[in-house]
């Protein structure tokens, strides 16, 4: 007898589908892990401060180019991008939206910042929705810096303040400029940070001590060029003059991530120009920490380390 009840007809049509559904539920654990890993997509976002200077931005894009193959080749990372916290696009929000659109499940944020500051500790976490620092929220709004909480899980790595990287970098640059270590002192000029001045000073002191141990250039002073001194050249002038009170010549090293005309030329260069007889007594090259193989290696290593942690979590 033929059953023409529509319910049974529908059931008969759906039976193979229901059975195939049962099949999926009985897949082996290995297959399930494989599927989860297929859904997992990890990206690396190199975040730096941002600058109006094209040279500065080019240096940071070049850094991304230099580490791309090593990060994607040796780690479980599927993509790498750069973002700037302020002044220019691509902003952090722009890049995180791109990662979301491309279906990334995890984004490792690698801050290309020397050591702790309000930017690293409060502003970047507030932009990506991890924190809500009241001052950052207000300032970001005023500065038109977009906040965006991505669908992907964000992981922020520690900063570059591993002393050896800065120590080796400054040592190499000081050696390049040095003519006679016995007659020279070192003036280290950095961006600085008001609430974390102690941390910045300790990092620079350790760097100067390393240079002293390796070269014999044992006189040093520290100067700032960022917001802490309201971008004034005077701190550079004072730092150089302090060295010149004891030594014949001062080697000035800008401990800045990349070259920016405003910092290396106008502020630091301007500060040096105010020093008497500076052409004879000051050794200065307006360069920066980048390019530096140590920084590149650190970015590759930290990306690798974080991608492994993310893999284990899955």
């Amino acid at each position: 007898m033929q059953n023409n009840n529509p319910f049974f007809v529908l059931l008969a049509c759906m039976l193979p589908l229901i059975l195939s559904g049962c099949n999926t539920a009985s897949e082996s654990p290995d297959t399930l892990v494989q599927q989860e890993q297929d859904q997992q997509k990890t990206g690396v976002l190199l975040v730096s401060h941002g600058s109006h200077s094209e040279t500065w931005r080019t240096t940071l894009f070049k850094l991304e180019d230099n580490v791309r193959e090593r990060i994607i080749g040796n780690t479980h990372v599927d993509g790498i991008k750069s973002a700037f916290m302020e002044y220019t696009e691509p902003s952090i929000a722009t890049r995180l939206k791109e990662f979301d659109k491309e279906g990334y499940s995890d984004v490792i944020i690698v801050p290309i910042l020397l050591t702790v500051s309000s930017h690293s500790f409060d502003d970047i976490p507030t932009i990506v929705g991890i924190k809500e620092n009241p001052e950052s929220v207000e300032m970001l709004k005023l500065e038109k810096i977009e906040r965006y909480t991505p669908e992907a899980e964000v992981h922020i790595t520690p900063l570059l303040d591993f002393q050896e990287i800065l120590q080796d970098n400054v040592l190499r640059r000081a050696r390049d400029l040095s003519q006679n270590p016995e007659e020279e002192g070192l003036a280290l000029i950095g961006y600085g940070s008001e609430p974390y001045k102690e941390e910045w000073t300790k990092l620079f002191e350790a760097t100067a001590d390393h240079v002293a141990a390796e070269t014999g250039i044992d006189t040093y002073s520290i100067g700032w060029c960022g917001h802490i001194v309201r971008y004034s050249p005077d701190s550079t002038t004072t730092a150089v003059e302090r060295v010149l009170e004891k030594e014949k010549r001062a080697i000035v090293i800008p401990a800045l991530v990349a070259f920016d005309e405003n910092f290396q030329i106008r502020i630091i260069g301007g500060g040096i120009e105010k020093v008497d007889n500076n052409q004879e007594r000051v050794l200065y090259k307006p360069d920066s920490i980048l390019p530096d193989p140590g920084v590149e290696k650190w970015i590759v290593d930290i990306s690798h380390e974080y991608s492994k942690i993310i893999d284990k979590k899955q």
Binding site: E132, N133, E135, E138, L142, Y196, E198, R230
Partner: protein, 190 residues
């Protein structure tokens, strides 16, 4: 030019000067006040009132022992019932976040700074406009700048005779050039 059409041009000039002046008066004052405020950005915060209070948390603390209970204790001393989050900017510090305030505690000596932030009335709003913190406002700001030029030019040519530009006006306009020129010359010699 016939006297009649000359008179009507003068009338248009006067009407333009008067009405544009009325229309942009409020914005002009807002920009001027904001200009003064931003000129002195190194001496004060023109956007926010940040009220800082120094606190003593009596003793030293080890980072390993900092937990939610201790943070609640710090918060109560700072006058906050609840906190949102706490984090360690360095080995020696812990920072606690509240709705519109933060507390930074130096663990080594138990000293702390509680900062409460609020918008500076009027100046915050004026600065939002002056800094173009609203995206499309830069176009309004451009129009305002062009209108200021028109207000100035219509003002310069409004009067005739000894009080007009050809009379005392040219001398005052020339005198007005002296301060900016002096500043530029001095800057060149620095």
């Amino acid at each position: 030019m016939p006297k009649k059409s000359n008179d009507s041009l003068r009338k248009i000039n006067a009407v333009l000067h008067r009405d544009l002046g009325y229309f942009f008066a409020a914005l002009l004052i807002a920009y001027s006040l904001s200009g003064i405020a931003l000129n002195h950005i190194d001496e004060w915060n023109p956007d926010f009132i940040v009220k800082k209070t120094s606190l003593d948390f009596d003793g030293s603390y080890d980072r390993q022992n900092v937990d939610a209970e201790l943070i609640r204790h710090f918060s109560r001393i700072a006058g906050e019932d609840t906190f949102r989050l706490y984090d360690f900017p360095s080995e020696r510090q812990v920072k606690v976040y509240y709705k519109d305030a933060t507390l930074l505690v130096n663990l080594a000596d138990g000293s702390g700074t509680y900062e409460k932030i609020s918008r500076r009335p009027l100046f915050y709003q004026f600065n939002v406009l002056h800094r173009n913190s609203v995206d499309w406002w830069k176009w309004a700001s451009d129009i305002f700048a062009v209108m200021l030029i028109i207000i100035t030019v219509t003002g310069v040519i409004m009067l005739r005779g000894k009080n007009g530009f050809s009379g005392r006006g040219k001398w005052l306009a020339a005198a007005g050039l002296i301060p900016p020129l002096a500043a530029l010359i001095l800057q060149n010699f620095q």
